[in-house]
C-alpha cells in the first residue's frame, strides 16, 4: 500500500495531530513513513500543510511530487483548494466545510464549495458541528480524519488503537471524546 496525503489547514487547527495518528497506525502495520512539517513564521495564523507519505516500499522524497497526492485532507475549505496542484487525477479531497476567517478578503463560502465540488472524488461536510454534537468541541480535526479512514485503506480499529495510545496521557475523557469524534466523522462519509 502507498498513500501520499497533503494535510492542510491554518496554524493551530491540529493537522499535526492527524499526522501523528495516521503515522502511528501506519507504523503499527510495519509501513515506512516520511512526514514534512511547517514550523516557524507560518504558524502565526498563516496557512500550514504537512506532506505525509506512507508506503510499504522505501520512500525517497520528503515532499510529495505535484500531481501525485492520493488525498488532500483539509480541516478548512479554502485551504483544501490551495494544494490542488499536488492532487492526482483520481485523488480525494476530504474537507471540513466550516471556514476559518482571519483575513479580510476571505472569498464567499459558496464559491469555495463550488470549486471543491468540481473534483470527482470529494467529501465536504461540517466537521465543527459534528464535533460539537459529540461534545468533543476541540476534536474537529479528528472528525475530518474519521471521514477519510476508508479512503485511506485503514480500518476504524487501526485508527482507534492509535488514538488510544496518543491521547492516553491526557486522560480517559479526552480519549473517549476523540473516539466519538472519529466515529461521527466516519459515519458522515
Amino acid at each position: 500500500m502507498k498513500q501520499d496525503i497533503i494535510l492542510a489547514g491554518v496554524g493551530g487547527q491540529g493537522i499535526l495531530t492527524i499526522a501523528t495518528i495516521l503515522g502511528t497506525a501506519a507504523i503499527n502495520r510495519g509501513m515506512n513513513l516520511k512526514q514534512a512539517e511547517v514550523h516557524g513564521m507560518s504558524q502565526r495564523g498563516g496557512d500550514v500543510q504537512s506532506h505525509l507519505r506512507l508506503s510499504d516500499d522505501p520512500i525517497w522524497s520528503d515532499l510529495i511530487p505535484f500531481g501525485s497526492a492520493d488525498m488532500i485532507l483539509s480541516v478548512e475549505p479554502l485551504e483544501a483548494l490551495r494544494y490542488l496542484p499536488y492532487l492526482k487525477e483520481d485523488g480525494w479531497i476530504i474537507s471540513n466545510s466550516t471556514p476559518f476567517k482571519n483575513i479580510p478578503n476571505y472569498p464567499p463560502e459558496e464559491d469555495i464549495y463550488k470549486e471543491i465540488r468540481k473534483i470527482p472524488n470529494y467529501v465536504l461536510f461540517d466537521a465543527d458541528t459534528l464535533a460539537k454534537e459529540q461534545k468533543a468541541n476541540r476534536s474537529m480535526n479528528i472528525v475530518v480524519l474519521g471521514a477519510a479512514i476508508t479512503h485511506l485503506g485503514f480500518t476504524l480499529e487501526e485508527i482507534e488503537e492509535a488514538i488510544k495510545v496518543i491521547f492516553a496521557p491526557k486522560g480517559e475523557a479526552i480519549v473517549e471524546a476523540n473516539l466519538r469524534a472519529l466515529q461521527a466523522g466516519m459515519a458522515a462519509n
Binding site: 502565526r44 495564523g45 496557512d47 506532506h51 511530487p65 500531481g67 490542488l84 492532487l87 472569498p107
Partner: protein, 535 residues
Amino acid sequence: MPKLMLLGDEALAQGALDAGISGFYGYPGTPSTEIIEYAQRSKQAAENNIHRTWSSNEKTALETALGMSASGKRAMVTMKHVGLNVAADPLMNSAITGASGGLIIAVADDPSMHSSQNEQDSRYYGHFAMIPVLEPGNQQECYDMAFYGFELSEKYHIPVLLRLTTRLAHSRSGVITKEPIPQNKMRKPEDMYQFMLLPAIARKKYQHHLELQNNFLAEAENSLYNVYEGEANSKKLGIITTGLAYNYLREAFKGEKIPYPVLRIGQYPIPEKQIHQLYDSCDELLIIEEGMPIVEEQLKGLAFPCLKPIHGRLDGYLPRAGELNPNLVAKAFLMPDTTGKPVPEIVVGRPPALCVGCPHSDTFLSLNEVMAEYGRGNVFSDIGCYSLGFMPPYNTINSCVDMGASITMAKGAADSGLFPAIAIIGDSTFCHSGLTGLLDCIYDKANVVIIILDNSTTAMTGGQNYTGYGKLEDICSGLGVEKEHIRVFVPLKKNYPEIINIYKEELAYKGVSVIIARRECIQTLKKKNKMETEE
C-alpha cells in the same frame, strides 16, 4: 535497536546524546530550534546532566562550545544560517585553534526563505574556514553523522560543520538508534598554545591547518557518505547530488534505477577523485544541489570553462533560487510535467499575522497615533514576530535587516538628522544583539527612542527562554541610559492615553530614551494556562 520517529533536527540531537555529548549551545532560529528543544525535553539528557540552555547569541554559543571542547568534552552548537554570520568570527578562528573534544557546528539553512531574510548556503562558510562539512541526506544520516562528526572532529582536532536544510530539519521519519556511549572525561589541553592565537602562533597553526587539507580531502574521498554509483546504462550524463537532491532524483525516476552514473556527496571538501572519475567517463555533468551552486562553481572555474558541459543552477537546468523538489529535478531530465489542477483563482493568500491579543498590536497602534504627524519612514525595526508590524492594519515599521539592526540603524538615521528616530526591538533580540548598539547610542548621546517589546520570551521561534529575562531595566541603566528615561508601560487599549503620553515625553527629550512595552506573549501565556489546567 529501537526505531524512533524523529524530525531531522531531533535525530541529530538524539545522535549527539547517544554519541556522548556533554553540552548543547545555541540561539533559537528556524529551522534549527528543535535540536536544542529536543535535548531540553530529553529524559536521557536530564539523567546524564547534559548542558542544554540557550545562549545570548550564536557567537557566545560557539565560543562556549569551543570552551567545552577545549576541556576535552564533546559539544554541539546550533543555529540557523544567518546565525552563522553572527558566529563567523569564532568560526573562522576555531578552524585555526582546532578542537579538543569533538565539536560539531550544526547549522540549518533555509533555502526558499520559509522563515528567513536570505537563503545563504552554510557550505560556503565551511569552504571558507577550510573545515570538513557534513551534509546528511535523510533523518538516519542526521543521527549517524553525530557519531561520525565527533569522531572526525577528534581525529584531526578540528571543528566539523554539519549542514541541514529546512526540509530535512522539519521532516519526520524512522531512525534506528545505537547503543549510547559515555561522555569524555574532562581534561585540559595538552598543548597550552592550542587556543592562543597570537600572530606568531596563529601563523604556525594556519600552516598546520593548510597541511591538514589533504587529510580532509582523503577523508572525503574515502567517506561512507560520498557514494559513487558508477554502473549505469548510459554514460551520456553524469549526475552529482548533494543533501536531499538524491532523494528527489530517485523520486523523479519513481524509485527505479537511475540510468546514469551518480555521485552522491554528503561530506566535503568535494571528493576530487570520484568527481574526476565521473567527469572522465561521461559526456556531460548535471549537478543537483540543495542550496547555492557551490559544487557547480568549484567544478566550472570562472575564467577557464571545462571542456565538457556542466549543467545545474547556473545555466538554468535548475532554478538559481529556492529549495529543490521532485518536480524541479524531473524537469531537468525533460520528464513530462505531472502537476495536478491549478489553484482556483478565488484562493487568496493567508499570510502570517500577529496573534489575536498580541501585546505588540497595542504598542504599534498607539505608536501610530503619535507618529501620524511625522508620516512613515521613522521607525526602524528588527527580526521577530513584530516584523509583522509592517503589514496592515499596522504599517508601523519600515525596516527589518538583521538581529539588532533596529537600534544601530535608528542611530545612523539620527546622526544624519532624522527626527524622530525610533527603534523597535524584541526583548530576546535586544539581548542577542541590541546591547552593543545601545552602548553606541549612549556614547554619542544619539537622539533616539528605543522601544523594547518585552513579551518575556523568544516568541517567533515558539517561546524559548532568553538570557536577559527580568533584567532589562537594570541592563539599560547599567549601560548608561538615564533612569528617568527608562519608561515602562503595559500595552493594553485602556492604557493608550498613558502610553501616548510616554511616547510624546520621550520624543521631546533630546537623548537616548528606552521605553519598555511589557506584557507576556499570548502564546506562552496560553501554554502555561493549559499546563496548569491539565495538572
